[in-house]
Structure formats: C-alpha cells, structure tokens
Amino acid sequence: MMSYIHFPVIAMMTLFLGAFLTVVFGRKSQAVRVFLALLSSGIAFCLICALIKPVLIDGEVISYWMGNWSPVEGYAIGIGYEVDALGLFFALITVFTVLLSCVYSIRYMERDSSLDFYYVLFLMLSGSVLGLVLTGDVFNMFIMIEIMTFTSVGLAAFRNNRAGSVEAGFKYLVIGSLGSSMTLFGVAILYGNCHTLNMAQLSSILAGKLTPSTVMAFALMFTGLAVKSYIVPFHTPAADAYTTAPASISMVFSGMVNKAGVYGMIRLTYMIFRAMDKSSVQLLMVIFGVITMFVGVTMALAQHDFKRLLAFHSISQIGYVITAAGLGSALGLTAGLFHAMNHTLFKGLLFLCAGAVFYATGTTNLDRLGGLSKKMPKTTICFLIGAFSISGLPPFNGFASKWLVYQAVYEKAVTSGNIFYAFATVAAVVVSVMTLASFIKVTQAVFFGQLPAALEDTREVPALMRLPMWIMSCLCVLTGVFYDQVSKWLLMPAANATLNVSDYIDKMMGEGYAAGAGVVNIPAFAPRFSFWNPVLWLLLFVIVLAAFCLAIIGSKGDRAQISAAPEDAVDGKYATFFSGEKSLPSHVSGSDLFWGFKKNWKGYFKVMDDIHSGRVNDYALYVVAAAALVTVFMFGFVR
C-alpha cells in the first residue's frame, strides 16, 4: 500500500488544523500556541520531506482525488491534488520557510500582543501556499490564492501601532484582490470553454488550440498570477507590506508567498497553456523580468529603511527568476528554479538579520543605525553571508544561480539572434553589480561605521533567533559549493517534470490520455555544468577575507572619529551632497554612500518617486493598465 499518496493533503490539512486548534486552545497560553505552531509546521515539513524519495528520486507523480471522485469517461469531476517534481520543489521551499520562520517567531514576537491571531494567520498562510503549489485544480488554486491574500493582509497590518502598517495592508488588499479577480475571471472563461477545472485535463484540451477566448483567459490568468509574484509594475504593495510586516513574516512573504506566484506563472505558461515554445510569450516574460530587475534594484539604492531596501531587492531578484524561466529553454528553467530557491535562502536570511537588528535596536532606519558589528558580531556574519550571496559573489549560491541565468540568457541571444536578449544579458550583469553596490551601502550603514550613542547598550539577539539564521547561512554556502548535487537531485527533476507534461496528464486522467490528445513531450536534458570550480573560489575568498581582516586589525585606532549624520536632515536623499567648500571637511554618511549616483540620475529617480506615489488609485491603475497591455499583446502576437 502506497501510504505516501495521502501525505500532500495531510500536510496541507495539518497546517489548517493547527490554525483552528490555535484559535480554540491558544487564547491564553503562549506555550500552547508555540507548541501547536511548531508541531503542525514540523509535521508538514516531515510529510513533504518524505515525498522526496518517490517524487524527486523515483520520478513518480502523485495524484489524489478528494473524496475519491475520480474521472468519469475522461472528464475530471472532483478536486484533484497532484504532486509532480515542480510542485514538490516549491512545497519543499514552503515548508522549510514555514518551519524556520516559526522557530524565529518564538522570541522575535514575544513583545507583541494578540499573538494567538498571529499564529492563526501564520499557519493559514502556510497552509494556503502549500495547497496552492500542490493542487491540480485551477479553482482550488484561486481559493488558495484568496486565503493567501487575506492572511497576508492581516499579517502585513499586524503591528498596527507602527506607522503605515494598516495602510500597507489596505493597499495589499486592493491590489491583491484585483489580481485574484483577474485570475478568477480567467478561470471562468476557461471553464466555459473546456468544461473542466482540472489542470491536467485543461492542458490536454488546450494543446496547441488557442481560440480568442482562451487567449483572453491566458492573458487574465497571466496578469493575475504576475500580480501575486509582485513583479514590476505590480510590486508597489509588496514593498510596503514587506516593510511593515514583522521580519519573520517578511521572510515568509519573500520566501514563499511570492514564490507561489512564480510557481503559478510557470505552471500556467509551461503546463496548462504550454505556450512557452512561442517566442512572443518568451519575449513578454523576459521584458517583465528585465524591467523588474532594473526598477527593483534602482529603487533599492534610494531607500533609507533597512527592510524597505531589502523589499526592493527581493522584487529585483524575482526579476531574475522570471527572466530565466521566461526563456522557455531547459537551461533557463533550471536557472530560474535555482535562483528561486537561492532567493528564498538568502533573502530570508537577510530579512531575519533585519529583524534581529530591529529586535536589538528598535529601529530599521539606516540613518540611525551604525557600527553594530561590535555589538552583534554573529548577526553581522550571517548578514555578510546573505549579502555576498545576493550580490552573486563566488562561492555563494547567488553566484551559481546568477551565472546560470547569464548563461541561459546569452544562449538564448545566440540561438534566437534577437538583440533584446543580448541586452537582457547585459542588464542582468549590471543589476548584479548594482545589488552589490547597494549591499556595500547597507553593510556600511548598519554594521560598520560609527556607532550612534543611542545604541551603546545594544546586545546580541537570543540564540533561538540566531538558529534559523545559521541554518540559512550554512545552506547559502552549501548550495553554492555543491551546486551540481542540488542540480541533480532538485532542479533537474523539477525542470524535466515541467517540460514533460504527458506524465502529469496521464497520471491524473489515466494512461494514454495525453497521447490521445496529441501531447508531445520535450526530451529530457542534462545541463552542462563546466563553468567554474567553487573550491578554488572558496580558497580565494578565504584568502581575501583573511587579508581584509588583517588590514582592519592593522588600521585600528588611526581612523579619525567622525560624527554621525545630522538627525534633523529633512530630505535625506540629497542632504549629504556638499560641493567643494574650502574649509568645511564634509563626509557622506553610510546610508548615503551613493549620493553621486543618485545626483547623476536625478531625473530617473524623480520619475520613480512619482510612480511610487503611495496613492492606491495609481497602483490599481498600473495593474489595470498592465492587464490591458498584456491582453493586447497576447491578442496581437500569441497564436
């Protein structure tokens, strides 16, 4: 008896049950709440990990019909859950993030009130994301998206005594429900055309037959899921919500909630519509990806809040994932999945570090922080590992996946001969450089430089908060050094499952169904990993680090003491730009390291400032306008 076919559903239900039990029993006692949350997320983690062997290693596809309503005469009636390697890949990311965030929350959230609601919302959010990545039914996917949006709003506005959190929640709700409305509209059109909601059956019906109404459905669902992955121009509420949510939740948002949107886009384009062999769809995804990368990173350079800066970096990194996944090639998909996984690791780590700084100092304003490396050395090391990873320095994981992205985009430029892809390759490299620049600024502003007098009695955060940070740091290094193992056991099965749709359809609808509907498989592939040797880079890195430490120890003491940035600077953006006045020795504070860049790009930043106006109407307008553009594009070019 294959008992593991029940695991995906039990894992999802455990999280929802945990939320329910927390409402009933967790009112009074913190111990009960923590116990329930840890228990349910731990069980979900174990159950999903137990599926690694059958799904990722043996290449099986698990299908599960709710209430045993299996298909009748080739028509799916019930709600099906279907776990292939792609779904399991994202499910692993989800349960991992949930477990670590839960551990981190225990101490991080201890000073907040109404914690029973926090854990209820947290567990429901986890359950909905897990359901979303495991389901095989488009309407069920919509329901999970809605639960995800609600709970995200609740959690973004959770610290409603802090300025702006309710505002962020409201914006998130308006934009999020616009996105889910579009998804629902698309689902309804699909149902009207195909009379089924099952992804496998939809995929076999839609094979190569795009009528005007299914193109409309494609455009609407594409936009709806793009809103959920918060790519530009839908990113505005994400930046707000990541800033105001507690750090444990920011980590969950960027680690799995927007991965759920990315998963939805991959599932939609590669499997349901199987449109990724069309160059127009590839171009659309890559355009979105490149714009997202660039706008995200430039906005990050202008930020003065630690978490808001990380939020814009998170958006920028999702651009890499979309660009790579949008290439439609096996190498591109592998690169996209690898970067999605690495993004969860390093961005989660960075958000946890930001949370640790907030926990220790009570602020995330870059102008008020500084010199924390002396007070919080362990957090600093974790942060540096995360910063090196996101900037793509070898031998950390960000380098491996970014390198794959460059390789995939360049290959596309060569094979398709389209000049746009060559431009995209350059953009990807430039954005990576700007990411590094931005993290030099943060590192300088928060962990090095002058320690403000107000932060003299800062202490290192508790060990229970550092534990998830260390786990993520270790994984950042390990996945970078042993990239070939990661690729072999995780990425290759997921990419091959995405490209070979007929297994997915056959398992769900019965043997031979896909062949009957004329589904053709793309042959499995093996990527060429011969581009770098991480061990040499590791050695080089250690040597450089040692030299750097020696230099710092050597130069200690003779550095002139400089005063911190003026507290009363009204507009911090250009405040520290001084022209060459003769006698006054001026300096630039750590948080304004790139004032020259900002000055030269004044026009661009002015436009960006106007775009991120904070008005919810404007944000809704971007969503509607982008939806209209995508629809027009699809009608014009997708056939």
Binding site: V153, G154, K171, F185, A188, T244
Partner: protein, 116 residues
C-alpha cells in the same frame, strides 16, 4: 437572452475597475472592488446556463446520457466566490475604519505615508 448577461458582466467589471482607479474615497474603492466581484459572479453563473435545462437534481437511476440540465459546477463556484467577495469587503472595510482612526481622513491622496 444569455448574451445580455455576458455584456452586463463585462460592463460591471469595467465599471468596477474605473471606480477603483478614479475614486479617491476609500469606501468607494471598496465598493469598486465588490462591483468587480459581482460582474465576475454574473459571468461565472452565466457560463453554466443551458436554455431550457432542468435543475441539476437527479437520482443515480434517473441519470442517463441525454439528461439536459443546467451545469451545477459554476453555481458552486459562484457561491464560493460570493462568500470570498463578502470576506474581502468586510476585511477592507475594517481596514478603512482603522485607517480613518489613524489618519482622520478616508482620502487616498492623504493616506500615503509609504511611498518612494
């Protein structure tokens, strides 16, 4: 005529989008969101309609290949979607109340502390 339903639903959705994009009062934005929902609900329930079909209530013995009835699945979807829409409205309105208490206004031009 069923075509009227489709036209009406698209008009409702477009109207809802217009309200969300152009109206500054937060309550009006919430109303716009619910108009979009109604439009979509009308659309879904119309996709399942069959002219002259009976109610989809059958015993297993009465059920045969030529049974002609209204598709029950969209009705179930619509019910679900109505419930979700009600939750969205309730949640959005409660956030508006909170916002009004904090900002002493419900104008979206004033509620923009998070920007840039």
């Amino acid at each position: 005529m069923i075509i009227v339903n489709y036209i009406a639903s698209v008009v409702l959705i477009a109207l809802g989008f217009y309200v969300i994009v152009s109206k500054k009062h937060l309550i009006k934005i919430v109303i716009g969101m619910s108009i979009v929902d109604y439009g979509i609900n009308l659309f879904i329930v119309s996709t399942g309609f069959n002219e002259g079909g009976t109610a989809p209530i059958y015993k297993m013995s009465e059920f045969f290949r030529g049974s002609y009835f209204v598709d029950p699945v969209p009705q179930a979807l619509t019910l679900t979607s109505i419930v979700i829409g009600a939750c969205v409205d309730a949640m959005a309105l409660s956030l508006v109340i909170k916002l009004y208490k904090q900002y002493h206004t419900a104008d979206s031009d004033e509620i923009r502390r998070l920007r840039g």
